[in-house]
């Protein structure tokens, strides 16, 4: 079960992407902050270094050209100055004698558009010129003026940008890798949780549990989820139990525990349908306890109830697994025999039932008493082909039994057999 399919995938963003974006943003911000601050610190340091360097260069030149300046040798001035500054980051240089006349001037040969750019950089950072006095024996004999070029700045800028980009790419890759790792674990667990939820929802299977995980919040979520599942499971069990109980109550007689009229009628309809389809037969017994009203009146309801319970137990003991005994109300019982081979089978069962009543009934108080039954039998499809018809025929047969002296069973269509 995919987490994404649980959500509305058209508007929702996967967790992995959210984490990935977050991590990338973090990496970018951290790197930018660090990079920018290091860049500026570096720039400040470089500027100080360049200024120092320029001043130092000016002093070196001043020292180097001293003699040449003293002896007014322009060529020598130019040559030694060139020697000293050609390899240094200097854009142009001038040497003046003590009267301020220029003895020599040197300019870095133009190297593409870079020099202009270097000069602009130098200007921006206020590294322009440095001056040093040329002294002989404590006497000033001239000055050196150097104009710095931004060559070092340019190199620094290029290296900074290069390193910055490289770091950006590297940290992007690392961040993406780690975020994938982290999100993998989270997503794995969430998917597992989602699948458990889906099973619970679709199949009402509450016995599965979310596995524990190392991530605290997810673990907590899983625990809560498991607790919820447990509650759902116990609720479901309870509800099923209640339902069963209610169904039982709705379909059974509370006193004897036998099926009630409603259940009996629905069973009868179902069995009739089945018999009609298969061409089989079934028997319907209508049973009435003889002299029950007298027992009830003389010995009390309690005794009557006991008698009813014993009758129910004895009737039930005489039928097969596939048959059904029901109490229709008062002292009336009904039996459904299915499948039925022939009428004689029904007769045998009815005989057994009548015989089972010979044994006296033990009452909670007072003497044991004997009771008997009157049984009316109707056979499908011999006597009727529908429930109402069968019930009517069986009822008639039962009254037939009563009339012929109780303790007997009668089969519909006036066929009567007497037993003892």
């Amino acid at each position: 079960m995919n987490l994404r399919s649980l959500l509305d995938s058209s508007h929702k963003v996967p967790l992995g992407l959210v984490l990935h974006r977050g991590n990338m943003r973090m990496a970018l911000i951290a790197l930018s902050l660090a990079g920018v601050s290091i860049f500026f610190v570096g720039l400040i340091a470089l500027r100080a270094y360049m200024l120092d360097n320029l001043i130092l260069s000016a002093r070196t030149v001043a020292y180097g050209v001293e003699a040449a300046v003293v002896f007014n040798d322009r060529e020598a001035v130019m040559e030694s100055m060139k020697q000293m500054i050609a390899s240094r980051p200097i854009a142009s240089a001038s040497i003046f004698d003590r009267d301020g006349d220029e003895l020599a001037h040197w300019e870095r040969p133009e190297t593409g558009g870079w020099l202009q750019f270097e000069l602009i950089l130098a200007k921006i950072l206020l590294i322009e010129s440095a001056t040093a006095r040329i002294q002989q024996n404590g006497q000033v004999v001239g000055t050196v003026k150097l104009y710095g070029s931004g060559r070092d700045l340019l190199i620094y800028l290029a290296i900074s940008i290069g390193c910055g980009l490289t770091c950006l790419v590297l940290s992007g890759l690392v961040a993406s890798r780690y975020s994938r790792q982290a999100s993998q674990e989270i997503i794995e667990h969430l998917r597992h949780l989602a699948s458990v939820a889906a099973i619970a929802r679709r199949e009402q299977q509450f016995q599965y549990r979310v596995k524990p995980t190392a991530i605290a919040e997810l673990h907590e979520l899983g625990d809560d989820f498991n607790a919820l599942l447990e509650e759902l499971e116990s609720w479901q069990t309870q509800i099923l139990g209640h339902n069963e109980l209610l169904a039982h109550k709705a379909n059974h007689d509370p006193l004897t525990g036998l099926a009630n009229r409603a259940l009996f009628e629905s069973r009868l309809d179902a069995e009739l349908l089945a018999a009609r389809a298969s061409g089989g037969r079934l028997a319907l017994f209508f049973i009435d306890a003889d002299r029950f009203k007298v027992i009830n009146d003389e010995l009390g309801h309690e005794a009557g109830d006991s008698v009813l319970c014993i009758i129910a137990r004895r009737l039930r003991s005489k039928i097969r697994e596939s048959d059904l005994v029901a109490r229709l109300g008062g002292d009336e019982f009904a039996v459904l025999l299915t499948p039925l081979k022939d009428v004689s089978q029904a007769g045998r069962i009815a005989c057994n039932m009548l015989e089972s009543m010979i044994e006296p009934v033990e009452l909670p108080i007072g003497e044991p008493l004997t009771t008997s039954l009157s049984i009316g039998i109707a056979i499908y499809p011999d006597h009727a082909i529908d429930a109402a018809g069968l019930l009517k025929k069986a009822d008639e047969a039962m009254y037939q039994s009563k009339r012929s002296g109780r303790g007997v069973f009668s089969v519909a269509a006036n066929t009567t057999s007497a037993v003892a």
């Binding site: 002896f71 020598a76 003590r98 220029e102």
Partner: protein, 181 residues
């Protein structure tokens, strides 16, 4: 003066003496007068020179005819030189050089110059010739006056013989010129 500047016999003689020529480049921008320039050069040379026993006062002797010397004296005043004494001696009074630390030679005949210079040999006397454009004579330094510009030439042989130690910076300049020649 300028007549000597052209290639001449003297130049050929100068080829024998190892002359480091600190020739001054042509410049139209020279605004400082020659006297001041000479004063500066002379004081510059003194600044780069170390006598075996440093004199308390530099005794500067001027000999011969000088076109610029009067200007130079004004120049010395101008650059505010201290601790100098300037004395003019006659060309034939070679003995007078005994009390000189520095000998400024103006225009004179070659024998006169030879005699003067011979008289200073063996003593630490710094010699500067005004009138020797290729520095072929035995003086240590020579002025190279070209228009309004004054340069300095050096004669390394004379320098090494003089007993005065010249700052290597100067010698380097000279050697550079030698290498170019």
């Amino acid at each position: 003066m300028r007549s000597f500047f052209a290639p001449s016999v003297l130049f050929l003689i100068g080829g024998i003496a190892v002359a480091g020529a600190l020739r001054v480049e042509q410049s139209n921008a020279a605004s400082t007068d020659i006297g001041t320039q000479i004063a500066r050069l002379v004081s510059g040379v003194i600044g780069y020179s170390r006598w075996p026993t440093p004199p308390d006062t530099y005794r500067l002797c001027v000999v011969g005819t000088s076109n610029y010397f009067n200007d130079a004296i004004v120049g010395f005043d101008k650059i505010g030189a201290r601790g100098w004494s300037i004395r003019v001696i006659t060309v034939d009074d070679a003995g007078a050089t005994a009390n000189c630390d520095l000998l400024y030679l103006g225009t004179m005949t070659a024998p006169q110059k030879r005699k003067l210079l011979a008289n200073t040999s063996g003593r630490p006397v710094l010699t500067i010739s005004e009138d020797d454009p290729v520095c072929a004579d035995a003086s240590m330094f020579c002025l190279a006056i070209n228009g309004d510009d004054v340069g300095l030439l050096a004669n390394l042989d004379s320098i090494s013989r003089s007993g005065i130690r010249i700052n290597p910076k100067v010698l380097q300049l000279v050697r550079r010129k030698q290498g170019q020649q």
